[in-house]
């Protein structure tokens, strides 16, 4: 990426943005981590999250089983990394990408006329027609993706392991 926001402490101008941005990034890190932890915990036990994945009708049974088990764990791992601030930029980008994948999944369910719960925060599976909340789920995921993108674009923030390791000082 560009050099503008990186470790060149001597040449950095000290404007208002430069003071505020690290705290905004920290807020996004904590916020996105909280979202991911909630999403992971509510997906337990795996039987339920497997069912939520199967409801999308996109994967063969074995793959759905695997995703149902691994997805909450992956969310948990990302949350952990965001909280400690390790590889902040890349984790933010992966988080945003994950949200975009979720949005694509919901759009595909919508396009195929499925009546399912997105299973984003537990739940999942079939719902009555007219009880779907695709719009809300997508809007939510867009907001989460934006948080991830913000972190990826401006990774410099306080309380981050990256700092201790000499990145984004």
């Amino acid at each position: 990426m560009t050099e503008t926001h990186d470790d060149t402490p001597t040449s950095r101008p000290t404007g208002r943005w430069e003071t505020v941005q690290p705290w905004l990034t920290l807020a996004c890190r904590v916020g996105l981590a909280a979202v991911l932890i909630t999403a992971a915990v509510t997906k337990f036990p795996p039987a339920l999250s497997v069912q939520a994945v199967e409801a999308y009708d996109l994967f063969p049974t074995e793959v759905a089983q695997f995703i149902g088990h691994v997805l909450p764990l992956f969310e948990l791992a990302l949350a952990l990394l965001l909280l400690v601030g390790l590889a902040t930029r890349q984790v933010g980008a992966v988080g945003a990408l994950l949200m975009i994948v979720f949005i694509a999944g919901i759009l595909s369910a919508m396009a195929r006329g499925l009546n399912i719960d997105c299973g984003c925060f537990g739940g999942g599976g079939q719902v009555d027609p007219g009880e779907t909340t695709y719009g809300l789920s997508i809007a939510r995921d867009i907001a989460f993706a934006a948080m991830g993108a913000f972190i990826a674009l401006w990774p410099r923030s306080p309380f981050a392991l990256d700092r201790a390791l000499g990145l984004f000082r």
Partner: protein, 330 residues
């Protein structure tokens, strides 16, 4: 001239320094990203191992004896076992029931065979009022499972049905499939023929029920007692209402389709309070409803059974004269 040269060498030095700095940063980034990737692999790897460690992958041992009950349910237990009674309410078209079967089915078989649990399978059709093919799939499968119980292969057939569960909203559990799955249990030719006839007959009944009887009944009832009231009625109550309002349900009598609708209605009144039956899958141990998280993991289920005392099966076995062939004729 000299100052030109000095300037150039200074420039070069700076470039050199910049380059080194960039390389160092690249290295730091690589290390950090590598560490992050390792954390992800570790969390996912350990988590996956823990989550799947209690998946009993396929109990292949012998099954405990299966006893058909008067109401069409099936008890799987060792003869004279004293153990907690685990009641399982499931609909063959319900995805969560399939998950339950996947995660908990083998625990139940294993425990029943070991005499540490009495398993009471109570198939039902909560989807009977859904649109076709959800309703028809659910009812056809339920009736076929009941027919398999006549030949003592309910548990095997139950497994096959869940393994082949159609996606909700898609046609499935076809008459040909249902027949083939029974043949897979290696019945005598005579039994296979009787089973085929039964499945054919039930499929006709299911078609009539879901495509003619129920839509007409629902339309009439909506007009006369209002949609809201219907929403609070269980299907068997709606059918009783229909019986005295020009929708004769006699065609359901003596059929397994009728039996499973009846069994479903009764489940709603069997328990009260916190134990009230609400959805499938529902698992009760000695009449106490297990919460979803406990029931849906093999470990939760095993622990709950281990903690429970002995229970009593609350149905009577069907008169045993070779598996209920006597009432086989529709």
């Amino acid at each position: 001239m000299g100052s030109e040269a000095r300037k150039r060498s200074r420039e070069k030095l700076r470039e050199q320094r910049e380059k080194e700095k960039r390389a160092a940063k690249r290295n730091r980034t690589l290390i950090v990203v590598g560490a992050a990737a390792a954390v992800v692999l570790l969390v996912v790897g350990i988590g996956y191992a823990v989550l799947t460690s209690d998946n009993s992958d396929g109990y292949e041992g012998p099954l405990a004896a299966q006893t058909l009950q008067e109401d069409g349910s099936v008890v799987m237990a060792e003869p004279d076992a004293s153990a907690p009674v685990v009641e399982v309410y499931a609909d063959y078209q319900c995805p969560a029931c399939r998950q339950f079967e996947h995660f908990g089915g083998d625990v139940l078989k294993e425990q029943a065979a070991a005499g540490t649990a009495i398993v009471h399978y109570r198939p039902m059709s909560i989807f009977a009022q859904q649109p076709v093919p959800i309703s028809s799939n659910s009812l056809r499968a339920g009736a076929a499972a009941r027919a398999a119980a006549d030949y003592g292969v309910f548990v095997e057939y139950n497994d096959t049905l869940f393994e082949n569960q159609p996606t909700e909203g898609k046609d499935g559990f076809t008459v040909d499939e249902l027949k083939q799955w029974f043949r897979d249990t290696e019945p005598s030719d005579e039994d296979a023929q009787a089973f085929d006839d039964r499945v054919d007959g039930e499929a006709e009944i299911v078609k009539e029920f879901t495509e003619e009887y129920l839509p007409a009944l629902t339309a009439d009832a909506t007009e006369q007692i209002g949609e809201e009231n219907i929403g609070t009625m269980v299907l068997s109550d709606l059918i009783s209402w229909g019986a005295s309002n020009g929708h004769d349900p006699a065609f359901l009598e003596g059929t397994y389709t009728g039996e499973i609708i009846d069994a479903t209605g009764k489940a709603y009144t069997r328990y009260s309070g916190a134990n009230e039956f609400r959805a499938t899958p529902s698992v009760y141990i000695n009449g106490e409803l297990l919460d979803g998280n406990t029931a849906m993991s093999a470990r939760g289920l095993s622990d709950a059974i281990a903690e429970a005392g002995d229970g009593e099966v609350n149905t009577e076995p069907m008169d045993s004269d070779g598996g209920g062939d006597a009432e086989e004729n529709p």
